[in-house]
Amino acid sequence: MLLKGQRIRAFLQTFVSLILLTMLLNSCSIHLVPQYNADMEEQIKNGAKMSDRLYLQMIVAAPDSKNFSIYEDKYLDVQVEINSILFQDEIRPKANDIIVSVQKLRDYFAKAMEDHRNKKSLSNGELTIYHEQLQAFWRPVLIEELALKKAK
């Protein structure tokens, strides 16, 4: 009789342990990166497109139509977009790597804008390099967000 009681107790202990382990495992998944955000992907693509368009417009403009004052509003539009992406990333958990990339993009864009403001007008050679390098700063930011899509 005692033996039977012990066996029931052991069974119940094992059963409860397994239930607890299952509950623990179900709540246990590793999170090393932020969650993918479809709106963020759209915003990054849109920001990249805006800066692409701005520089292409300046490149094709006539030499006397490349003055900073003509494009100041468009520069600000792109800057606002970058700042908004950075702001959202700063409050995203585990987004340290992404934040670095967006900060680098923000700083570079600010530098390119400042150079244009100081020189009043930029040559096509300068604009072409800024255009190419800006695309190169946008690329990792987008690739980071797309990588999050593959996180399980």
Partner: protein, 107 residues
């Protein structure tokens, strides 16, 4: 039903290997694209400098900016590696979950 820990561990290891291999393709593509686009930009920079379409200071400043681009790209590769590590860890946990779930189902 027996809970064979060796078998579960082997399955967990296989799941980790599968996740890492799957994600290697994810890292390889962008990494080579970064290298290729860098080569094109450096060619462009050098060519514009040789044609005197940009001055020496501008050339050196932009060359310096390439370091920041590379830093940003390395952070993107770090994110991809973290995604791979996360997927591998969660695949292993998933195997353990299934094994324990199967035991409970038979109790």
């Amino acid at each position: 039903m027996d809970f064979n820990i060796d078998e579960v561990l082997a399955q967990m290891l296989a799941a980790v290997q599968g996740a890492v291999q799957e994600n290697w393709d994810m890292v390889k593509g962008p990494a080579s694209s970064f290298l290729q686009s860098r080569r094109l930009r450096l060619d462009l920079l050098a060519s514009l400098r040789l044609k005197n379409q940009i001055d020496e200071q501008f050339f050196e400043d932009r060359l310096d900016d390439e370091k920041d681009i590379m830093t940003s790209e390395l952070h993107a590769i770090a994110i991809m590696s973290e995604v791979a590590a996360q997927n591998a860890a969660n695949a292993a946990i998933g195997i353990l979950q299934k094994a324990v779930g199967a035991i409970i189902g038979h109790v």
